[in-house]
Every structure is written in structure tokens, then in C-alpha cells.
Subunit: 282 residues, 2 copies
């Protein structure tokens, strides 16, 4: 084995970097654990600057670059942007600047929605930023410009999820308002375009009805990540023995609150969450 | 007139620095304009990192120090921490580090509540951070340790206000839940311990009843600021001629959205809002 082969063999077992504005990206981590249980992850949740959904493209791009630099210093082999707003605002730009593979949640979500729709009407719900970027619409219409895409921002869903009001009457009331026009538009496919929203799946399902296909981009992203790693020959050679416990979690604020939330989302216990209080310096 | 007198005379006409996590502090600006119409203000809204209410003391202290350095470079003669969470977490520490007068919103609010209560039961509503700090309770009981203080965090009030749902049925429902225990505790005075909450005054009033005294610390802070300036001989000698238009507004993100909100709160038009995209470097 020569040096290059040796180095590559080491690289295969490097972790995957995953980041989000806070806890929402854990729904993506959950799917990656299910789909690629042998892979190790380093997760960064930007809890000091959460939420991203109401902020501008310039700000989200700056924050994303800082987090990517942090993850690269941790020696990750690939990066998952596990946040729809950051995927919408930053992915295209940062992709050009990087020498390791990177994947966001929007393209995988858009592609599966294109495959799923039969009547050519797709709905997208997301943060203000994601909806304003029209990134889902663009990517869907790149595949098929005859598909109608109806987008709706749901700004209160994130705080309602963060408060744990997943099936509360107030959440149901807000969901009725946000989804009213989408329901009236006779869409047959709805993209849950924010990583917090899969936690509201049953509320959305009840309002939209059984016949609608709900797309959770987290699931598709995990599958897309597998393909990406394979195409770059970066799948780990490690075997899965209690690997869940070796994931590393970092946040920019309030590590205990994060840990509590993570325990409710992830299948295995998180043992430690580390605080990074200088992410802006990366 | 000697040099020192001359310098002091100039300093009198320096602006007052005011800051908040975002738009909430504009309710304090509104009261300062009413109370001290001749004074000029430089306002900083940390819209890139809003909200502060769910974040840790360490993070809020770091952010407050950066903003104070920014305001000091603008040559302010005094500083108003127009945010309850920052007043709770950062005021005591930064006061020690500064050579110009600084005032927060909590002490003025606590003092007027002590004067207002007749039955010795005061309620406080605020963000998670403000309530966890127990700063209102401490300051009230410093005056009179027999006063009972009942505190309640209302984490959804800020996002509801930011969405403009001031009198909406969802806001009323959440207010009923948050205020239930306070109402049952027979308080006679309630402190609106977050700068967003005065915008929910009529909803809170309706639930709590006419007999309760609602304390808006913004009003008391403006009066406290007047006293502070007088005691330091720092009242401006300028006269009030269309001075409203010379206030300066800075935000760390999304200046247009801020301007819209500001127009709905302040009596006069804001002409420009400036973006500062490197507040973390101050």
C-alpha cells in the first residue's frame, strides 16, 4: 500500500460534518444514523444565533462559512447542511469554495417531490428565508417546468416546536391557517421544507389528508449522502459496534437544553455536548 | 471657558446609546422621545442574533459587550440597555467596566412595582432568561423582602409579537395559559418584563382585569435616564427642532424589516437604518 492509498484509507473513517441553526438538524442526523449506522458524525448546532429562518442571505452565508471552517478543522470527510435556510442561502456559494463533498437538504427533497407528484402540483412549507429564496421552486422546475409549486412560509412553526407544542390546539390552529391555501390549491405532494417540521408531521397529515404525499427531505438527504460518499469512495470501512456513542455534538450556546432535545429525537443517548463560544472567530 | 469646560459642553450634546436584541427596545426609544425630546439617540438592534431570551448568560454578556464597544466608538455619553434579558444577565458586569453612565430596564421597573403594590404581591412576565435570572425578584426584595414575587416565562410572546399577532385569538389563548397562575395568585401589580410585551398590553389587560397595575419598565427607564443624565450633568443643551430625524439606527441584519417595524412603533419617520455586519468584531 503506498502513501496515497494509506491516506485515503484513513480518510474513509473520518467523520461526516453536519450542521444546523440549532436542534432541527437532528431530524437529519436521525435519518443518517438509520441509513448509514457505521458512519460517525460531528454535529454543530448554532444555538447562540438560532433561528436562521428570519435572517438575510448575507448573514446566513457568513455563519455557514464559519461553521464549515470549524467542521473542517475537526477533520470531516464530507459536510451535510442540515438546515433548509442555510441550504437555500449558502450551499451554492460554499460548494465552490470547498474541496470536500457537501450536500444540502433542498435538492434531495425537490427531486423526490418531482418523482412523487402525479397531478403536477407541489406545495412547499418552510421558513421565511427558504420560501423567499424560491430554491425548491427553482430546483423542481429545473426538472420539469410544467410543475406548479406553491410556497408558504410558516414562521411560528419553529418556536412552537421548540416549545414542545407538537400537537397542541394552538399549533393546530396555526397549521390550519398556514395550510389553508395549499389545501385549496389541490396539491398532491407537500415538502416539509424545514428540519423542524417533521416533528409536526401528524398535525400536518391530519389537516392535509391521507391522500397527500408528505416529503421529509431529511430521509432523502440521508440517501443522497450515501450516494455522494460512494461516488467519492468515502464510505467508512468501520463496522457498527455501538458507534452511536461516538458521534460528537457541539453547540454555540445552552448545551444542556440541546442535550435534552437531542435525547427526545435521537435513538441513542448523547453523552456529551460541547460548547463552542467563539464560532464567529472561525 | 477653559478646555475642560469646553469639552464637557460638547459632551452634553453627544447622543445616548440604546440597544436591544432587535426591535423590542424601540418601545423604550418611544418613551425616551416622549420624555426627553431634545436628546439624540443611537440605537443598535442585534437582529442577526435575536432573540436573546432563550440564550445563556455568557452569550448575552459577550454580545452586550460587543454592542457597548460599538456604541462607545460612536461617541455616546450614556447607554440604555433596552432589553430585559441583557439587563438581567449583563448590566451588573458591564457597569464595572465602563466610564460612562449606563442604565437597564429592570431596576426602574422593579422600583415602580414596589411603590405600586398594596397587597405585597407582584407578578413578573418575561423571557426564559429574564425569569431564570430572578433579577426582578432580587431587586424587589432588596427594597422589601416581605413582597411576594411570582415570575412566569412567556417564550411564545416574542415570536407572536414579531408576527404582528397582537390581538389574535392564538395570542389570547397563549396569554390565558401564561397568566393563569398569576391571576390565581391574586397579584395586584404585573411587570411587563420584556420590551416586546407593552405591545400586548391590551390583551394582558383584558385577561388580568382593570384592577391590576401593569408596569411598563420602558416608561420608568426613560424617567430614570433623565435623572441619571442630570446627576452626571449630561443633559443636552440643544433645543428640540425636528430632532427626531437625527436619531441613528443600526442593526446587525435585515434593515428593511426593522425599518417597517420601527415605523409602526415610533412617532416620527425613520429615514435610514444602517447595517453593521461585523458586530462580533467589536
Amino acid at each position: 500500500m503506498n502513501d496515497i492509498e494509506h491516506n485515503h484509507k484513513q480518510e474513509l473513517n473520518f467523520p461526516i460534518g453536519v450542521f444546523d441553526s440549532g436542534v432541527g438538524g437532528l431530524t437529519v442526523v436521525r435519518e443518517i444514523i438509520r441509513n448509514l449506522p457505521e458512519e460517525r458524525m460531528i454535529y454543530f448546532g448554532d444555538t447562540a444565533r438560532v433561528p436562521y429562518g428570519s435572517k438575510s442571505k448575507e448573514t446566513i452565508l457568513r455563519y455557514s462559512r464559519q461553521i464549515i471552517r470549524f467542521l473542517q478543522r475537526k477533520g470531516v470527510k464530507a459536510i451535510v447542511v442540515a438546515c433548509n435556510t442555510a441550504s437555500a442561502f449558502a450551499l451554492e456559494e460554499v460548494k465552490k469554495e470547498m474541496d470536500i463533498p457537501i450536500i444540502g437538504v433542498i435538492k434531495p427533497g425537490a427531486e423526490v417531490a418531482v418523482k412523487a407528484t402525479k397531478n403536477g402540483r407541489i406545495g412547499v412549507i418552510g421558513t421565511e428565508g427558504t420560501v423567499k429564496s424560491h430554491m425548491y421552486k427553482k430546483l423542481i422546475q429545473n426538472h420539469n417546468d410544467k410543475i406548479q409549486v406553491i410556497e408558504k412560509a410558516c414562521p411560528l412553526f419553529v418556536p412552537l416546536v421548540e416549545e414542545g407544542l407538537l400537537k397542541d390546539s394552538v399549533t393546530v390552529e396555526m397549521a390550519h391557517r398556514y395550510l389553508k391555501d395549499l389545501k385549496a390549491s389541490h396539491i398532491d405532494t407537500l415538502i416539509l421544507g424545514c428540519t423542524h417540521y417533521p416533528l409536526l408531521r401528524s398535525t400536518v397529515r391530519e389537516i392535509m389528508g391521507e391522500e397527500i404525499t408528505l416529503v421529509n427531505p431529511a430521509y432523502e438527504t440521508a440517501k443522497g449522502l450515501e450516494e455522494l460518499l460512494k461516488s467519492h469512495n468515502l464510505r467508512t470501512t468501520a463496522e457498527n459496534h455501538g458507534i452511536e456513542q461516538s458521534h460528537e455534538f457541539y453547540v454555540s450556546d445552552a448545551e444542556e437544553k440541546f442535550m435534552e432535545f437531542a435525547r427526545s429525537i435521537l435513538p441513542s443517548n448523547i453523552h456529551t455536548v460541547n460548547l463552542i463560544n467563539n464560532i464567529e472567530e472561525f
